[in-house]
């Protein structure tokens, strides 16, 4: 792992953090409408997995997708513009927070339906096989999706057809508002995946982007090499409520001080990088650059024009 790669991981974690904090601020200022789900606490998963992805891989995400999309290289300015509903947004303002798509980066689908992206990933993976691109399809979802029939059917079919799919389950132990012990009797998610005959691993410290990267790289090598689908469970902690404004978080999601060190990806990843020999001042520079990048993009997006309703009825059909 080169210094560039390591610094790059930290940069992504910081970018996502600053981005999400800015989004929260915009919501409180009334500039963003609708329900938004931020990835604070999940940054290292996006950073680690996306760093292991190849250009020909596909990415399918869900309602908590800002981090994935940014880490995969979507234009940051156009992403925040989309969340603001501006014409310059990735989807011209039509999608919003839950539907961030950038097909040139292989981000082909973002669905607001829990579990809805999993069957889509199967199709993308199948296309890779047919077109022989050597690509994989990476699907991000939360532990809440485990309750859904689509999850089960997708694992089933991916295993049957030996599709190059990497299932990344970000297990923050809370599904919408219900704690996992309450909503399922599944003992361990990796055990469930293994029932379908696929390789499965668990990353216990999902706030460490380096650990996530290493696991993802191994997984994707196997997947691309024809080893069939792979299930990666990454344990994280949500550092906020389910959506911005979810006050239940103060009861359920808040962490003790000592746990923050372990579960805050900005802190945890930084600590890991320092262990790997990166210098403090280098890391500080990266962090400052990330902050500036986000500030500039947000300012620019706020100044950009609103989406126009003139052709709102166009482009329903291709």
């Amino acid at each position: 792992m080169t210094p560039e790669l390591l610094l790059g991981l930290y940069r992504q974690v910081c970018r996502i953090r600053y981005f999400e904090v800015a989004v929260e601020r915009l919501i409180h200022e009334g500039k963003v409408r609708g329900l938004v789900h931020v990835s604070i606490g999940h940054e290292a998963v996006a950073a680690g997995v996306c760093a292991a992805m190849a250009p020909q891989d596909y990415l399918l995400t869900g309602h908590r997708g800002h981090g994935h999309v940014l880490a995969r290289g979507a234009d940051l300015y156009r992403t925040v513009a989309e969340i603001l509903g501006r014409a310059a947004g990735l989807c011209g303002g039509r999608g919003g927070s839950m539907h961030l798509v950038a097909t040139e980066k292989g981000i082909i689908g973002a669905t607001g339906i829990v579990g809805g992206n999993l069957p889509l990933a199967l199709g993308a993976a199948y296309t890779s096989l047919v077109l022989r691109t050597g690509g994989a399809a990476v699907a991000f979802f939360g532990d809440g999706a485990v309750g859904n029939g689509a999850f089960h059917e997708s694992l089933n079919l991916a295993a049957l057809w030996r599709l190059p799919v990497l299932f990344v389950c970000e297990n923050n132990e809370v599904a919408e508002f219900t704690r996992r012990e309450e909503h399922t009797r599944v003992a361990r998610l990796v055990d469930l995946a293994r029932v379908y005959g696929m390789s499965a691993e668990r990353v216990a410290e999902g706030a460490d982007a380096v650990a996530v990267y290493e696991a993802a790289r191994l997984a994707l090598e196997l997947v691309r090499g024809g080893g069939g689908p792979y299930f990666l469970e990454v344990t994280v902690r949500r550092l906020r409520g389910h959506y911005v404004g979810d006050v239940r978080a103060t009861r359920r999601g808040a962490l003790e001080e000592r746990e923050i060190e372990k579960w805050d990806p900005v802190l945890r990843t930084r600590r890991r990088l320092e262990d790997e020999g990166m210098r403090k001042d280098e890391l500080d520079v990266v962090m400052a650059e990330a902050e500036r990048e986000v500030e500039e993009a947000v300012e620019r997006a706020l100044a950009s024009k609103e989406a126009s309703a003139v052709n709102v009825e166009a482009e329903v059909y291709a």
Binding site: A150, F151, H152, E153, A159, L160, R185
Partner: protein
């Protein structure tokens, strides 16, 4: 098991067998339309489960329901009439074979969607548990149901709510190690064993041979007891699919069942003989009961004659039953107007 038991059980299984064989003949004669499915080869499962149930228990079956209904005590006349779409049927001709239901027998509704009955059964078990009736709910389904999201969501809820549901998976597919690519019908599931799926939800799951009634009876009694104690359970009952159920439409590929096959005679077709030998629960039970001195050939043939006569009565009843008035199609959409 004594001689009386053995004859009683034989009668029950023969009733299912002869009902289904007669149905195939009726269909050949064009006496009822639509697709249908027979329970030949699986009789022991329905009988073993239903024998362990009591009055307040419920059953949610599927399109392959004739055996379950008969084992539960359904009147062959009203069943036959329903399959033929007549007014005298259990559902007034509105269900046909696919949705045969008899609320008075604890079979309140029958879904024909793959996997559809599992959430229904789980919810019904929740209802019985909530109302403290002491009843349990049995869901019968095939191996194909494990491919559906509905199955999965159903067992997740069953485990979450700890409800008294007995999930009976009747695996009659071509077993994986014998399957050729594209072969129908066969289970399409990557799990090494189907029982791995419910097990991963902490639902106790076991495999059992579906061809041996004597083994099945105490086994199902044990399962029903456990479920009545409050926990959901899953059983995979393995049978080898009856050769007549392999083509898209059922066929009497080996002709009608001959009781003589339990007494040394063999079917004309060698392939069919092998199935009878290894997988026919009726013939196997008869042979073993006779070997144990519980049933003589004469007694068996007498019971068979009586059963055939019962089925014939059912056919006559059904044929004599009028079709419902066409306007009845518009009635019974809502239970209560407002």
């Amino acid at each position: 098991m004594d001689a009386d038991d053995a004859l009683r059980l034989l009668r029950s299984m023969l009733r299912i067998r002869r009902f289904e064989e007669r149905l195939i003949q009726l269909h050949r004669e064009g006496l009822f339309p639509g697709h249908y499915h027979v329970y030949i080869g699986q009789e022991a499962t329905a009988l073993a489960v239903c024998s362990a149930l009591t009055h307040g228990d419920l059953i949610f079956s599927t399109w392959r329901n004739h055996g379950h209904l008969l084992a539960r005590g359904a009147d062959p006349k009203r069943m036959m009439a329903e399959i033929l779409g007549r007014a005298g049927g259990y559902c007034g001709g509105k269900a046909g074979t696919l949705h045969l239901a008899a609320k008075e027998l604890g079979i309140p509704a029958t879904s024909a969607l793959v996997g559809g009955n599992i959430p229904l059964a789980v919810g019904a078990a929740l209802g019985l548990k909530y109302r403290r009736t002491g009843g349990i709910v049995v869901a019968f389904f095939g191996d194909g149901a494990l491919e559906e999201g509905a199955f999965y969501e159903g067992i997740l809820l069953a485990a979450l709510w700890k409800v008294p549901t007995l999930l009976v998976c009747e695996n009659n597919s071509v077993p994986p190690h014998l399957r050729a690519p594209g072969q129908y019908p066969s289970s399409v599931h990557p799990a090494r064993q189907l029982v791995d799926v419910p097990s991963s939800f902490s639902i106790a799951a076991e495999v059992v041979d579906g061809t041996d009634l004597e083994e099945l009876m105490p086994f199902m009694e044990k399962q029903v007891r456990a479920v009545r104690g409050g926990e959901p359970r899953f059983v995979e009952v393995r049978t080898t699919r009856w050769p007549g159920s392999v083509p898209l439409w059922p066929e009497l590929v080996g002709g009608e069942t001959e009781l003589g096959w339990a007494f040394g005679e063999r079917p004309a077709s060698e392939e069919y003989a092998e199935w009878v030998e290894q997988s026919d629960p009726v013939i196997r039970f008869l042979r073993r009961s006779s070997e144990k001195g519980l049933v003589t050939r004469e007694q068996a043939e007498t019971v068979d004659r009586e059963v055939r006569s019962e089925i014939e009565e059912a056919v006559q009843f059904a044929l004599a039953s009028p079709f419902p008035e066409a306007d009845a199609a518009f009635a019974g959409v809502f239970a209560r107007g407002c």
